[in-house]
């Protein structure tokens, strides 16, 4: 089947088997391996991407559902060498150890900022990371990173 959509700003036309999941397409056909597969059962959030601007789990999306949509994976967030403010916040706040959960956490963090702005509380961040699992950090620095990332995203928007 023919599917046309935008991926990280680039138009894509793909001829694919209707069973193909978005995460399989990203990793196996586009070599965009920043989107991880932790569970494949929509529990862990390692596969989060932005679909028309909002976070979704790419292991639970068929490519054929995406016709006409806009997808941004972790690779599409930075501008050149400059990290996205949420990525930079994870870097500065030591929001990762092995890094496996990190792409999904960054995308989830962007969603949290979109819903709550920079006044978001720690409690809300913890609550809304419900769908993201981390086996290393104990979450504390991830929560700090999202809080700092929300502030940085607000500052970047004001500056722009």
């Amino acid at each position: 089947m023919q599917v046309s959509f935008t991926l990280n700003g680039k138009p894509i036309n793909a001829d694919i088997d209707p069973r193909t999941l978005l995460v399989e397409f990203l990793r196996d056909q586009q070599s965009l391996t920043g989107t991880h597969v932790g569970c494949e059962t929509s529990q862990c959030g390692a596969c989060n991407v932005l679909l028309d601007g909002v976070p979704v789990k790419s292991c639970s999306l068929l490519m054929v559902q995406l016709d006409g949509c806009d997808v941004i994976s972790i690779e599409g967030l930075a501008s050149g060498e400059t990290l996205h403010p949420m990525q930079q916040a994870f870097h500065e706040n030591h929001g990762l150890q092995c890094g496996f959960c990190t792409p999904g956490m960054v995308i989830a963090g962007i969603g949290i900022y979109q819903r709550h702005g920079d006044a978001v509380t720690e409690e809300t961040v913890r609550e809304e990371l419900e769908g993201n699992l981390c086996r290393c950090t104990g979450y504390h620095n991830i929560v700090q990173s999202v809080l700092a990332g929300a502030k940085a995203m607000a500052a970047a928007e004001k500056g722009a």
Binding site: P18, S42, S60, L62, Q65, A108, E130
Partner: protein
């Protein structure tokens, strides 16, 4: 996944034409349940029909005595919609408790209600708020709609189009969530619909959402924790799994009901 064909109709007429074809049709809405089912090879549709582009299944509006919500309305939209928050805040709150933000960005009201998972949240709200389930050619009351485990009154291929619920004078939803999946181990929706009409709907505890009619009668007479303190919830036929025994669930249901009433009377 087994092999399937795929179609994405834009109108109900296009959908009808697909249904009249040879292939056996299954609807795909948010896919938060169905895609996992396809992966496990527990579903084997010949033609998977993505209904998400059909405008007739969208929209949310106020009615004379409640809300009418299109089948495709996502959990995230019910949780954040101003009309829902103003008229039935408990419903917005319930939607915001489903799964996690990523699931709420995809999963739909129609998908949840059509699926009738025994631990899903929406069925409790739809049953307690005297819901009406609309399909292309009929309307079914919630009391008749939820039949049994994953079973509803929908016929083969019948499409759920919208759901209407009534605005209560007060309502509370109390959920004891499985900490891993967020599905309800037990959930109780208490709605005071005014004029001595009280409904108590229970999800998660049994094979299908059900009403606690003796609690309803007691609360209709006297809406207070004291009025239900002495009543018992039967453990007969309740679910048994690694998370909780039937006795534990029965106890939870009573506790959650009392919490709901307490919240509404404090």
């Amino acid at each position: 996944m087994y092999q399937f064909d795929f179609a994405k109709p834009k109108t109900l007429d296009d959908l009808k034409a697909l249904r009249e074809g040879e292939a056996e049709v299954q609807y795909l809405a948010g896919g938060m349940t169905l895609i996992a089912t396809l992966k496990q090879r527990l579903a084997m549709p010949e033609l998977l029909v993505d209904i998400s582009a059909i405008d007739d299944l969208k929209g949310l509006s106020k009615t004379a005595d409640g809300l009418k919500i299109g089948a495709l309305t996502k959990h995230a939209d019910v949780a954040s919609n101003a009309d829902v928050k103003n008229t039935i805040p408990t419903l917005a709150k319930l939607a915001g408790m489903i799964g996690d933000p990523q699931v709420r960005n995809r999963g739909t009201l129609g998908g949840s209600v059509a699926n009738n998972d025994p631990s899903a949240d929406y069925p409790a709200a739809v049953l307690a708020l005297k819901g009406t389930i609309h399909t292309e050619n009929r309307s079914i009351t919630a009391d008749d709609f939820f039949v049994d485990l994953f079973e509803t009154a929908l016929d083969e291929g019948e499409l759920l189009t919208a759901i209407e619920v009534k605005t209560p004078t007060r309502a509370s939803y109390q959920k004891f969530a499985n900490p891993a999946s967020r599905y309800a181990i037990a959930g109780v929706f208490v709605a005071d619909l005014g004029g001595g009409d009280v409904r108590v709907a229970v999800t998660g505890a049994g094979p299908c959402v059900y009403r606690l009619k003796d609690f309803e009668a007691a609360l209709a007479k006297d809406f207070s924790v004291d009025a239900i303190k002495g009543l018992e919830v039967s453990a007969d036929g309740l679910n048994e799994d690694v998370h909780a025994s039937p006795d534990y669930r029965a106890d939870l249901v009573k506790t959650l009901t009392m919490r709901a009433v307490k919240e509404l009377t404090d």
